[in-house]
């Protein structure tokens, strides 16, 4: 949950900033070019940078003369490496959340069903075992063609992501209710988790061509 929320904000912010940068650069170059051609239908405001952006940039670069210093190649290398690392990190952040290998089981405390605490040497369960059972139970529900379950989040606070493909005659509301009452509740009970936040995605199998006219 936390990871996905952070990724969400990271993506949105970076996309907005890149979009803004592209818009600004594109407008600058295009307007400067049209202005030089005399094809601009309006007068530029006084604060608009005069001259073509390329000239402005190269002039400034040449004036400052960073290329003449011997640290210039190293600086370019460093910037490129840093950029590559950051971009690779951004790319890797798009892969799905990692599945914990094992889940920590909790024993429900007597009298307080919602307050199960992990024991000092709490037993653990292989995550794939639980998700496999959940998927099998979900596929057995009426109207469900197949189901896939992935558990993400930490070992103590897992999150279930369930993708269900329904038959074309299925009743999504009934399936949703059955999923919650069945696999999700069973998973909660069998792991002793107070709640298992779940994201369910229901799809429908594409119908065959049996209704040809």
């Amino acid at each position: 949950m936390e990871v996905s929320r952070r990724r969400h904000w990271l993506n949105r912010t970076l996309l907005a900033l890149l979009g803004l940068a592209g818009l600004a650069a594109g407008c600058w170059v295009a307007v400067a070019g049209l202005d030089a051609r005399g094809q601009l239908p309006f007068a530029l405001p006084s604060w608009w940078p005069s001259g073509h952006p390329r000239a402005a940039l190269t002039d400034r670069l040449d004036a400052a003369g960073p290329r003449d210093h011997d640290w210039w190649p190293a600086a370019v290398l460093g910037c490129l490496t840093l950029g590559l690392l950051l971009l690779a990190g951004w790319l890797l952040a798009q892969t799905g959340p990692r599945e914990p290998r094992r889940l920590t089981l909790r024993r429900p405390a007597p009298g307080a069903p919602g307050r199960a605490k992990p024991a000092p040497h709490a037993p653990t369960l292989r995550t794939s075992a639980l998700s496999g059972v959940m998927a099998a139970q979900a596929s057995d529900l009426p109207g469900v063609r197949r189901a896939r379950v992935r558990l993400s989040g930490g070992a103590r606070r897992p999150r279930a992501r369930v993708t269900v493909v329904l038959d074309t005659g299925a009743d999504p509301r009934a399936v949703l209710t059955a999923l919650c009452a069945g696999p999700l509740t069973h998973a909660r009970h069998s792991t002793g988790l107070p709640h298992l936040p779940s994201g369910l995605r229901l799809r429908v199998a594409t119908p065959g061509r049996r209704r040809a006219r």
């Binding site: 803004l20 407008c27 170059v29 790319l91 509301r173 949703l176």
Partner: protein, 214 residues
């Protein structure tokens, strides 16, 4: 002409208060941009290192440099590329600032910690199947637009159009209810009798005047 009808409110009390719409994480555009950036960085880095070892700059680099130096800023190519860049920038900003996820219709959550969505394509399929179950309907086209509206166009092969349309309405209301959506789409039905086949015109689907039942 055709009716815009509100389906029966489902039994859930959450009707009218749609659950918090999940914003798309925009993983696809982010991955594409990151991948492009990584590629550019790798190419530049490789070339920079090669130049550090005394190799000449790669041809693509000298070509680009020369082209940039030789092409005046008034060139149509430069202006066109800049315009495309600006449009891409606007697109990225729109992508960043809008919720997205329009193809996932939120369902009424049966439990507070559960969030469920139904694919829009799936909803379309189910509504179409429901329309085709109605006696007299031989072909149906369903178009779920946005997240609020569903347009259903059917061809009635036999029976009275108005009666078939009423039955279809019932069937679709039930089907919409069964979808379990938090914000059920409003239905717009159009029923047209099957075209009389004179000649050989498979596209004669045009509804004669007054045949769209109210």
């Amino acid at each position: 002409m055709s009716t815009a009808s509100e389906p029966e409110p489902p039994k859930s009390p959450a009707r009218g208060r749609a659950p918090h719409r999940a914003w798309s994480a925009r993983r696809g555009p982010a991955a594409v941009l990151a991948l492009l950036g990584c590629g550019a960085c790798v190419m530049l880095l490789y070339d920079q290192v090669a130049m550090g070892y005394g190799q000449p700059a790669a041809p693509w680099r000298t070509h680009t440099k020369d082209w940039l130096a030789d092409t005046p800023g008034t060139s149509g190519w430069v202006i066109g590329a800049a315009a495309i860049l600006a449009v891409l920038g606007v697109y990225l900003m729109v992508i960043a600032l809008t919720p997205g996820g329009r193809r996932r219709l939120p369902m009424t959550p049966p439990a507070p910690s559960v969030r469920a969505v139904l694919d829009r394509a799936g909803a379309t399929t189910l509504l179409r199947e429901a329309a085709l179950r109605t006696p007299g309907v031989t072909s149906a086209r369903v178009h779920v637009r946005g997240r609020r509206r569903a347009r259903v166009r059917v061809t009635v092969a036999y029976g009275e159009v108005a009666a078939v349309r009423a039955a279809l309405h019932e069937e679709l209301l039930a089907a919409t209810d069964r979808l379990g959506l938090a914000d059920p789409p409003r239905l717009r039905l159009t029923a047209a009798p099957a075209p009389v086949r004179h000649g050989n015109d498979p596209h004669a689907h045009g509804a004669p005047a007054g045949s769209e039942a109210r």
